[in-house]
Amino acid sequence: MRTVLDPTGERQASARELLPRPETLRGRSVGLLDISKARGDVVLDRLAELLAADGALVRRYRKPTFARTAPVDLRHEIAEQCEVVIEALAD
């Protein structure tokens, strides 16, 4: 019997159920996260217009840099204030 040692972090990601998709965004808080990629604001500005026209309450957020993960405080703020989040991931 050959035995080897596990080189991994030996972690198992906990499976989480997705929340049900909202029927409508009217009256909902929708966060738009700009990750600071060039021209991400162009997409998000237009989305904000369209969402506002649909009656959504739009909140804007911005990561300091796309090269690093979002600061913990920012993640908490978004989780506290929003029901739906849209992230502008790339340029």
Binding site: M1, R2, T3, V4, L5, D6, P7, T8, G9, E10, R11, S36, P64, T65, F66, A67, R68, T69, A90
Partner: protein, 465 residues
């Protein structure tokens, strides 16, 4: 196993002293275990478990046992000592008074790691995975997703124990928190991945230092892994450790063929992959990547360098690693410059195109100066600071050439910057190292990644034993 009371001996048939004392042992009626011939005496210790557990270093070893516990021990043959231990006078008629024993197989350097892994309560915390009899062990490691696409060395417990002898650090010590999964990585886990990578134990301290450096906040390892850009960690090693462990700073220093260079860089990447969970196509979203993401590690050529060691210039003298977020190698050819001003202009021209000739301050770079180019600076008395100062001046670019649309290229800086002068590199964004073979008027630009506070800053850390 409980030892029988009375006399117990461990021997091996390959040992002339053991053969010499065979009649004595039979006359004494000792319970004898043999290490290399299961049929010589009643006791079979060809698995060496008893020898290991009793800590036998020499054969023959004769023990007296009472209530299952050892009360006396002699090694080799000595008539006087054997008589004293057994209480039987005039033993071994015709034998010499003394005869030293032989080394026990249980301390044979080629066996001791396996014995420690099997019987030693090794203290290894990693999950043990048993491969099925019919599994090809190399295919099994591919199947489990533990490789970078090349074969790896199976991380058996004995290999990991041997690897851990390369450091004095506690296997349970946490070296770094490795992204993207933010897993606390112990010295032991680094050792497991160093085995996979093909490292020798003496390489482990450098791997540990490289991981500590790469996990520093300012290096931004998570972003470096996740980016669509080309970059991965490049490791530059300074200090006597590089020569001691056989690293290459000379011919083909950035290429293949040197075990230490190849496996240290690879071990760091395997830690990110296996411990951190950073895999291409998952969190690693590189558009193209670069071959240096398998491994990119070299030693700086210090003995005839015009520059102080890179790490020393960055505040860590002696054995140290510097990690840099690098994106592959761009050749720099200049076979005609014989004075430093001309050669600096060549370097500046080649560095200007880093990522894009119209993008300033966005991306770092490392310039690797070869010995034949380095000689020009050494003979002119230019150190690193002088060369960097010269390059900074040459690489201060008029924004009019860089604005969007200039030169018929949409890429560039916003039009509002027109009229300004912009530096190609942020302060500290250009590293200079010295490496390569004796011949060749070539240097290299290793393109970087998004620089400084918005991206990655190079990090230097001491290599500790």
């Amino acid at each position: 196993m409980r030892l029988p009371d009375g006399l117990v001996a461990v021997v091996k048939r390959d040992c002339p002293t053991c053969v010499l004392v065979e009649p004595v042992l039979r006359r004494l009626g000792a319970a004898v275990w043999c290490q290399d011939d299961a049929g010589w005496f009643d006791g079979d210790d060809t698995e060496l478990e008893l020898s290991y557990r009793l800590g036998i270093e020499t054969v023959p070893t004769l023990l007296r046992v009472a209530d299952g516990a050892e009360t006396a021990r002699v090694v080799g043959w000595s008539r006087e000592q054997w008589a004293e231990l057994t209480g039987v006078p005039d033993l071994g008629e015709g034998l010499p008074e003394h005869r030293p024993g032989c080394g026990s197989l249980s301390v044979d350097p080629f066996r001791v790691d396996a014995l420690e892994a099997r019987y030693g309560g090794s203290g290894l915390a990693s999950r043990r995975i048993e491969l099925a009899e019919l599994e090809d062990e190399h295919e099994a490691l591919f199947d489990r997703g533990w490789t970078d696409g090349l074969p790896v060395v199976p991380p058996t417990p004995e290999r990991v124990l041997r690897m851990l002898r390369g450091t004095t650090r506690d296997p349970a010590e946490v070296v770094a928190v490795v992204p993207p999964d933010l897993v606390e990585c112990t010295v032991e886990k680094v050792a497991v991945n160093a085995v996979l990578a093909g490292c020798l134990p003496e390489h482990l301290p450098v791997v540990l230092a490289a991981l500590e450096a790469a996990a520093a906040e300012e290096f931004a390892l998570h972003g470096l892994l996740a980016t669509t850009y080309f970059a991965g960690p490049v490791v530059v090693v300074n200090g006597p450790v590089a020569g001691r462990i056989g690293m290459n700073s000379g011919v083909n220093a950035l290429g293949q063929g040197n075990r230490a260079n190849a496996t240290i860089g690879r071990a760091l990447q395997l830690v990110v992959r296996n411990v951190g969970g950073g895999r291409p196509g998952e969190v690693d979203r590189a558009t193209l990547g670069n071959p240096g993401k398998f491994t990119f590690c070299f030693a700086e050529r210090e003995h005839d360098s015009p520059f102080a060691p890179l790490a020393a210039d960055r505040g860590v003298a002696g054995d140290a690693v510097t990690v840099f977020a690098g994106s592959g190698v761009q050749p720099v050819v200049d076979q005609l410059s014989r004075d430093p001003a001309s050669l600096a202009r060549t370097f500046a021209a080649c560095l200007r195109v880093n990522a894009h000739p119209k993008l300033p301050m966005a991306f770092d770079a490392m310039l690797v100066v070869s010995p034949e180019h380095g000689r020009v600076f050494r003979e002119a008395g230019w150190d690193r600071a002088r060369l960097l100062a010269e390059l900074e001046e040459l690489l201060t670019l008029p924004a009019d050439e860089l604005v969007r649309g200039a030169g018929g290229m949409a890429e560039g800086v916003p039009a509002g910057l027109a009229g300004a002068d912009l530096p190609k590199f942020r302060p500290g964004g250009l590293l200079v190292a010295h490496a390569g073979g004796d011949a060749g008027l070539f240097s290299a630009v290793v393109g970087g990644w998004v620089s400084g506070e918005t991206g990655s800053a190079p990090v230097t850390r001491e290599v500790r034993a």
